[in-house]
């Protein structure tokens, strides 16, 4: 009995890290979006479990937001965008899959070492959530660095943001969690649905960031 709460939280948070790894090696945009939807779904479950454990009903709002907005609306919107742009092609990665995975493992190891060492005073659930959250954040950063396509960079960023949500809900009783997740959702919504992709497409018919990297006459 004593550890059902902890084990479930552990399973969900660990699952999030695992799915972050799965994101790293997807080489097609459509499958990338599917895996991302799974990522958001696991986050929603994890947050809901925390809401149940901490008896904090407001966290259900964050969980609902993760489920409705991140697991459904964002993937659907991104899929429509890539369909309209006709880019179901492969993702060009800057670094190969093998080195990326190795780097990912090193980052996860790093976050375990750092976070478990400094959070000795925190509760076990908060401890493991923070360690896993840092791993998800770092893997998201890694993904943003290794991808050149605007859509996969966005996916990297929102998976990173899922890690932050995990950390915020794991820290027991943290205020403003809902507000912060709403603020982040607004940021993502702004970026995803509108401005950048539409403008980039309108101007260049391409969402490859490499195509944007134009010499400005003084560098490179």
């Amino acid at each position: 009995m004593p550890n059902l709460a902890f084990d479930t939280a552990h399973l969900l948070a660990g699952g999030l890290v695992l799915i972050s790894f799965m994101l790293l090696y997807q080489d097609r945009l459509t499958s990338l979006l599917n895996v991302y939807a799974l990522h958001a779904l696991v986050l929603a479950l994890s947050v809901a479990w925390q809401a149940h454990l901490q008896n904090a009903p407001h966290l259900y709002v964050t969980a609902g937001l993760a489920l409705g907005f991140k697991a459904i609306i964002i993937p659907v919107a991104l899929r429509r965008i890539i369909e309209r742009l006709g880019i179901h092609r492969e993702i060009e990665t800057v670094v190969g899959i093998g080195p990326t995975m190795l780097a990912g493992m090193a980052l996860v190891g790093l976050s375990m070492v750092v976070m478990l060492r400094v959070t000795a005073a925190a509760t076990p659930i908060a401890r493991q959530d923070l360690a896993f959250a840092l791993a998800v954040v770092l893997l998201g950063l890694l993904m943003m660095v290794t991808r050149r396509n605007a859509v996969s960079q966005i996916v990297g960023f929102i998976s990173l943001e899922n890690g932050l949500n995990l950390a915020a809900t794991g820290a027991r009783g943290m205020p403003l969690v809902v507000e912060i997740s709403v603020a982040f959702s607004i940021l993502i919504a702004f970026i995803v649905i509108g401005i950048f992709l539409f403008r980039i497409r309108e101007r260049f018919d391409s969402v490859d960031i490499g195509a944007l990297d134009q010499a400005r006459g003084e560098q490179r």
Partner: protein, 482 residues
């Protein structure tokens, strides 16, 4: 005096209401004037805060001797920039770079940015501070991309990616601070209230605070434009509308630095935690030296001054990193004067770029002959930013160098090297831009000289005579910063 006093909430709320109003109203003349009026009202509200004793801090907002310096500076430059902006966007509308629809968007975003920055400066809650800085980032990203050219979109994208990574790291740091505070203060809102945190910081777990501070320094440091996280800054300055460059350099970088300072004070209250000073000194010096050498290779006038902003933010971060009453005093003075001078320079540069239809330094020459007011204004501004007497920045840099020589001579040598290298680059380029045979096209511009010369006069006055009241105030704040 008491009936002039307004509640502190008005300082962020006035621009917020103005943003909603300006989003709905059409027409250039009306909205540009309303924009100026709203920033003026915000400035007056901020000034009224000076005349009342500080209220006890609430769970969300706080006004103390430190942030009121930032708030007054912020609202003042916000006001002068809106005056400059109204003549600037008038010209942009005429030549068709902005459409009326985008202008409405621009004004709403300008006010939203002001509201977000004022909220970040007044926040007594580290969560609220984070949200406010995030909103400020979002609005500036949108404004940088407003011209929708190839380069503007690239700049906005780069800024968005680096800026969001920065604020994401800062959020992780904020969460860690809460985790450190929670066992001591207890769950809930109180464990995010800055005044509570500082009062109890001595009992926090030092190792957790250390990790938190690294995240916060990297996160907010990205927004300050510290090397090696500065890559977004020159692009964002060069490609957006010039009023936004002025506000970015003069204000937003300060707001991010203010956040770092708040957390530095938190670290100082815990005896077991690392001292943040050496980290800030290293990042500051690296930014200064890097930007000083990069200045020589710039071909775009707005990018040129953007690198000069990196250089100055480096100096200011260095000063606050050194700490102690004298270096902090120099840092505060440098920050205030840099904001005034750099936004003044951008006012001049904005009209110069309009007059010459280009931002390429090579195509601009002999401005003192063709546009004497703008040309000489720029000369005074650049002389000030280079740190020549009798203008104010000479004094703050002199204070900083002399206090550093007394404490760490080796660092002082590097500091002086950076200052001299930047000085050379600034005067070299100024010579080409302001003097010699005029080149290229010359359009007439309806420039607004008021904001430019108001800033320059203030900087000159600060160099000649600092009122004792101001000195006492800054000395007091320097002591607070520790």
């Amino acid at each position: 005096m008491n009936h002039f006093v307004v509640p502190p909430q008005t300082v962020p709320l006035i621009p917020l209401a103005a943003a909603a109003l300006l989003a709905l109203l059409p027409g250039y003349r009306l909205t540009a004037r309303l924009n100026v009026l709203a920033t003026l009202a915000t400035l007056l509200a901020a000034l009224s805060l000076l005349f009342e004793p500080h209220r006890p801090p609430g769970p969300y907002l706080l006004v103390d001797d430190l942030n009121i310096v930032f708030i007054v500076l912020n609202t003042f430059v916000g006001f002068t920039t809106s005056v400059f902006s109204s003549s600037y966007v008038g010209h942009e509308l005429e030549i068709g770079r902005l459409t009326p629809k985008y202008l409405r968007f621009y004004h709403a975003m300008y006010q939203l940015l002001m509201a977000a920055m004022n909220a970040a400066l007044m926040a007594n809650n580290i969560g609220l501070m984070w949200v406010a800085i995030e909103v400020a980032t979002l609005t500036t990203v949108l404004m940088v991309g407003i011209y929708r050219t190839h380069e503007a979109l690239e700049a906005a994208w780069k800024y968005f990616i680096l800026g969001s990574v920065g604020i994401a790291l800062a959020l992780f740091g904020t969460i860690l601070v809460y985790v450190a505070a929670q066992p001591v203060i207890g769950e809930g809102l109180q464990a995010m209230v800055w005044t509570k945190l500082v009062a109890n910081a001595a009992y926090f777990d030092p190792s957790l605070l250390n990790v938190a501070f690294i995240f916060l320094l990297l996160g907010y440091g990205t927004k300050v434009g510290l090397a090696p996280l500065h890559a977004w800054l020159p692009d964002a300055h060069a490609e957006g509308p010039t009023p936004i460059s002025a506000v970015l350099s003069g204000l937003l970088l300060n707001v991010a630095l203010y956040a770092v300072l708040r957390f530095k004070m938190l670290m100082a209250a815990n005896a077991g935690a690392i001292t943040p000073g050496p980290l800030m000194v290293t990042m500051g010096l690296a930014s200064l030296l890097f930007a000083a050498f990069m200045l020589y290779r710039r071909r775009d006038i707005k990018r040129f001054f953007a690198y000069s902003s990196i250089e100055h933010m480096g100096i200011i971060t260095f000063a606050f990193g050194m700490g102690g009453a004298l270096a902090n005093f120099a840092g505060l003075l440098q920050m205030t004067l840099h904001s005034l001078t750099k936004s003044g320079i951008f006012f001049a540069v904005g009209h110069i770029a309009q007059a010459k239809s280009t931002q390429r330094i090579d195509d601009i020459a002999g401005l003192t002959e063709t546009h004497p007011w703008l040309g000489w204004g720029l000369v005074v501004g650049v002389v000030a930013i280079a740190g020549l007497p009798p203008l104010g920045i000479f004094m703050s840099e002199f204070l900083l160098v002399s206090s550093t020589f007394a404490r760490a001579p080796l660092l002082a040598v590097l500091l002086v090297l950076g200052l001299l290298v930047a000085f050379g680059a600034l005067l070299l380029r100024l010579n080409g831009i302001a003097f010699g045979e005029p080149r290229g096209v010359n359009h007439p511009v309806k420039a607004s000289y008021g904001p430019l010369f108001a800033h320059l006069v203030l900087v000159l006055a600060a160099g000649l005579y600092l009122p004792p009241l101001l000195v006492a105030w800054f000395q007091h704040v320097s002591q607070l910063l520790g």
